[in-house]
């Protein structure tokens, strides 16, 4: 099923995420117009689409940062749209979210950023927590920069730290919002390798929103292409390549 660099198959113990007829509007602008998507456990789905087609909104709806107008989102069998605050937070602990600009807390050091969720949600003792933070930073190659503030590191480094923070609670699901946006090709490749590493080592279920076609090919088991709030094409990279639709062909080749 995997078409790119990843050689692991998704786990087959039921869907981790089931989205049905999801709709979201902002004022008169319909952003999502009946999205349906099932993501198997351990699968990595890449969501492609032009800017403003609701890809980031889809991720925020999945983690409950925004409420849909209608439709259903089931994560590991739990209906996210009707969960109360406390239950919603229990589900959120199982989900890691890498934001587009990493969203590191300005006032905290790199180490403190990674420790932030651990301080509040883990039973680890102080020394164990420090060791966990060190290990997470080592995973993303940032162990030398723990004392720095976010303003003192580059965009690519911020993404790495954001990834370490997202992994702090050992999530079963990862949501990536344009993980390689604004990065040079080499750094983007490194981030893609980190995502691929998560697939291989942790069998994490992932949804990756990106415009990086090369990265999409590398990390995806399956791709979906959004247009005007709907999924217009779905399949492996090779399957989409064979798609005769002009929009799909243009999108994958980068022609205007």
């Amino acid at each position: 099923m995997n078409n790119g660099g990843g050689n692991n198959e998704p786990r087959n113990n039921g869907p981790a995420i089931v989205i049905q007829d999801l709709r979201k509007s902002f004022g008169r602008q319909k952003v999502l117009n009946g999205i349906g998507l099932t993501v198997a456990s351990g699968e990595t789905v890449v969501v492609l689409g032009r800017s403003g087609t609701g890809k980031s909104v889809l991720l925020k709806l999945l983690i409950g940062l925004q409420k849909p107008d209608s439709g259903s989102i089931r994560i590991q069998g739990l209906e996210m749209t009707t969960l109360q605050f406390k239950e919603l937070n229990q589900v959120r602990k199982k989900i890691g979210f890498l934001f587009q600009q990493a969203a590191l807390y300005d006032s905290l050091s790199v180490e403190e950023n990674v420790a932030f969720p651990l301080d509040r949600h883990s039973d680890l003792r102080c020394a164990e927590r420090k060791e966990r933070v060190r290990a997470l930073l080592a995973t993303v190659g940032m162990e030398q920069h723990g004392k720095k503030l976010p303003s003192q590191i580059s965009g690519g480094m911020k993404k790495r730290v954001g990834l370490a923070r997202a992994l702090a609670l050992d999530p079963e699901i990862m949501l990536f919002d344009e993980p390689t946006a604004g990065l040079d090709p080499i750094t983007a490749g490194e981030i893609n390798q980190l995502i691929l590493g998560l697939q291989e080592k942790r069998k994490i279920t992932s949804i990756v929103v990106t415009h990086d076609i090369r990265g999409a090919r590398t990390v995806s088991h399956r791709l979906v292409l959004l247009k005007e709030g709907r999924i217009v094409a779905e399949g492996s990279f090779e399957e989409l390549k064979k798609n005769q639709d002009l929009f799909v062909a243009q999108f994958l080749s980068g022609d205007s």
Partner: protein, 284 residues
């Protein structure tokens, strides 16, 4: 009733100015309609915000470390500013009233006038306005910046309640620190008043204080000082609210900082009207 009408008009005017700032030059009826909608949305959002704040305050953990950080940000870091403003107010009070009192043949009442004026009204209101300028703008800009850079979303996505971690700690810090800062403003105001007075007509500090505090009672001192806890609540609440509802990038952050200061200052002055009357009734 009149009071609420004034608040409504001010808030509508503020909402209207926001609508006009957004670049649309519609006819006045449209502006009034949009302002009214914006105003009622603002009230509704503020109600929801207060609800979340109550929930955040009532459920542990209480983020003690962040509260300490905020106490330091509000208290010690505002101390010099408040002390200077208090001292300047004391100097001005002394200069302005000594002349009038001398003309009325009541120059000996100067210490009492300065002390009463400072502890009953000038100290508390100066402290409220100074802190709303320094801390209100800071909170509005900081939380606004966190909002537009998705840091607040990141916190929520990590199952951490931003209303508890960011808003409640700031509100509580303002509530706890304002009365203490008021004491500082009162102290330095009285000191400034004495220094100015003694330059014109030498008088010992001890005698100045004895004369000034001769007729001061509990009701003159404690209620006006502790009413500033309500000013603190207004500063924490309004600036956190304005910051956390920021939209529109860096321009939005600027708007949040400005609106935090403007609204905090206005609401403090308006709340003072009510509180002064309330204190007169409850502590005659």
């Amino acid at each position: 009733m009149t009071f609420y009408l004034i608040v409504l008009m001010i808030a509508m005017a503020f909402s209207g100015s926001t609508v006009i700032q957004s670049g649309r030059f519609a006819n006045p009826f449209v502006v009034v309609k949009d302002s009214m909608i914006a105003f009622f949305e603002w009230i509704g959002d503020l109600g929801i915000f207060c609800g979340r704040l109550v929930r955040a305050a009532s459920v542990p953990p209480h983020e003690g470390r962040e509260l300490l950080r905020q106490l330091e940000a509000v208290g010690p870091k505002s101390f010099v500013l408040v002390a200077l403003a208090g001292a300047a107010t004391g100097v001005v009070l002394s200069l302005q009233t000594s002349d009038s009192l001398t003309r009325l043949g009541a120059a000996s009442l100067l210490p009492s006038v300065i002390v009463f004026s400072l502890i009953k009204e000038t100290g508390p209101i100066i402290t409220g306005l100074i802190v709303s300028g320094r801390v209100g703008a800071g909170i509005g800009a900081e939380l606004g910046s966190m909002k537009v850079t998705e840091q607040i979303d990141a916190m929520e996505a990590s199952a951490i309640d931003p209303y508890k971690f960011l808003a409640w700690t700031r509100v509580l810090a303002c509530v706890l620190m304002l009365p203490l800062l008021t004491l500082a403003a009162d102290f330095f105001g009285i000191l400034g008043g004495w220094a100015t007075n003694t330059l014109m007509e030498p008088i010992s500090l001890r005698l100045f204080l004895e004369n000034g505090f001769k007729t001061v009672t509990f009701n003159d001192f404690f209620p006006p000082t502790f009413k500033t806890a309500i000013f603190g609540f207004i500063i924490g609440l309004v600036s956190s609210f304005q910051g956390m509802r920021t939209r529109g990038g860096t321009e939005g952050v600027g708007r949040s900082a400005t609106s935090s200061v403007v609204l905090c200052s206005l609401f403090i002055i308006l709340a003072d009207v009510l509180l002064v009357r309330l204190i007169q009734v409850l502590f005659p």
